[in-house]
């Protein structure tokens, strides 16, 4: 196997443990390792792969898959994905295994309920930051407000709402 790919996989397994809350936390560190320190990708490559991951369906783990793919083809993409989710599988799996056994224990109830205020604060922060970044003018703000209302007031699936917005944008209406 390619030496660079092996080294990338080593970095990914460590960084996946630091990615508490998702991949956004480790973007700066990923860029340092992949672009600045080792020169595996150019900054342009790094940025466009990130945009691509955002535009693709699915979890933003895909960014890691695309980095692996760019460095070592399809095998690299698949290996990078697997290595990145492995620590999650072990840790989340272990927690879930205990879930039923612990579910009525006081410390687990306190932990679950106690983290709810933090979770809602973090969600609200992402909602705010995403909206500030995306709703930059009247048309985009109207789209954001319409999708907010549609999701709460109807049973429209999120996919249909996004597809509708995408169609409006593709016809130059946004």
């Amino acid at each position: 196997m390619d030496e660079n790919l092996l080294s990338l996989l080593g970095h990914l397994i460590v960084q996946s443990l630091l990615a508490i809350g998702g991949i956004y936390v480790i973007l700066a560190e990923l860029q340092r390792v992949v672009v600045v320190e080792n020169g595996w990708l150019t900054l342009e490559d790094f940025t466009s792969l990130f945009a691509l991951a955002q535009a693709s369906p699915g979890p933003n783990t895909l960014f890691v898959s695309l980095i692996g793919w760019r460095m070592a083809g399809v095998t690299g993409g698949i290996l990078a994905t697997l290595v990145f989710v492995l620590p999650s599988l072990i840790l989340a799996g272990a927690v879930a295994r205990g879930w039923n056994r612990w579910s009525e224990r006081r410390w687990f109830v306190v932990l679950r309920r106690g983290l709810v205020p933090l979770t809602i604060g973090l969600m609200a922060s992402s909602a705010l930051l995403l909206t500030l970044a995306a709703a930059t003018g009247v048309p985009t703000f109207a789209i954001a407000a319409a999708s907010f209302t549609l999701l709460l007031a109807t049973r429209a699936p999120p996919f249909a709402i996004l597809a509708g917005a995408g169609a409006l944008g593709a016809f130059g209406l946004v």
Partner: protein
């Protein structure tokens, strides 16, 4: 709120006894993976809480709360926790594969096509509109998770503090969690002692 928990909340019934098969789990996460653009959380809530009613809103928030402090993307952790609780390790691997298999294939195909794709004006317009709609959806999901907690003063106080720390002070998430997780748990514990 039209999507509040159904009258007979499933909370008392263990997850293993809600008739969720591994096949249904795989299909559910397949749908979540492939329809989740710009943040997968709105789709997860739609598929698991609104449509299939496998969990009620509060159960979902508790799972999300734990998954948020575990490393890795929340949705990856949610699929593992749901799969594990329904069908052990095979369940966890089933749910995780369902989530990842199509998006990874699609992303690698898009990657192969992507040269020149970002220059087309129609594509730029679509991406701009999708980003705005996705932000609106995340706001809607936040409102839904917040609604059952609206009379909980800890949520209001901590919510404002966390927003200030993340969105205004731009503190790294690891720092925010290290500071606010103990505070969140401590205040909740204090409230449980004083209000039962």
């Amino acid at each position: 709120m039209t999507h509040a928990a159904p009258a007979a909340a499933p909370r008392a019934v263990p997850l293993t006894e809600r008739g969720i098969t591994l096949g249904a789990m795989f299909r559910c996460f397949l749908v979540i993976g492939v329809t989740g653009f710009g943040g997968v959380l709105p789709v997860v809530v739609h598929e698991i809480v609104t449509r299939r009613r496998w969990l009620d809103t509060e159960e979902f928030t508790e799972i999300l709360a734990i998954c948020q402090v575990l490393p890795g993307p929340n949705i990856v952790n949610i699929s593992i926790v749901m799969g594990m609780r329904v069908g052990g390790w095979p369940g966890a691997i089933t749910a995780l594969s369902g989530l990842l298999i199509l998006p990874v294939a699609i992303a690698l195909m898009l990657g192969a096509l992507y040269t020149g794709f970002a220059e087309v004006p129609a594509v730029q317009g679509a991406v701009r509109a999708i980003a705005a709609a996705a932000a609106g959806l995340v706001c809607a999901i936040t409102a839904r998770l917040f609604w059952p907690q609206r009379r909980n003063p800890v949520v209001a106080v901590l919510g404002v503090a966390v927003i200030a720390a993340v969105a205004w002070a731009r503190l790294p998430l690891v720092v925010v969690i290290a500071v606010f997780a103990p505070l969140s748990i401590g205040l909740t514990l204090w409230r449980m002692r004083h209000h039962g």
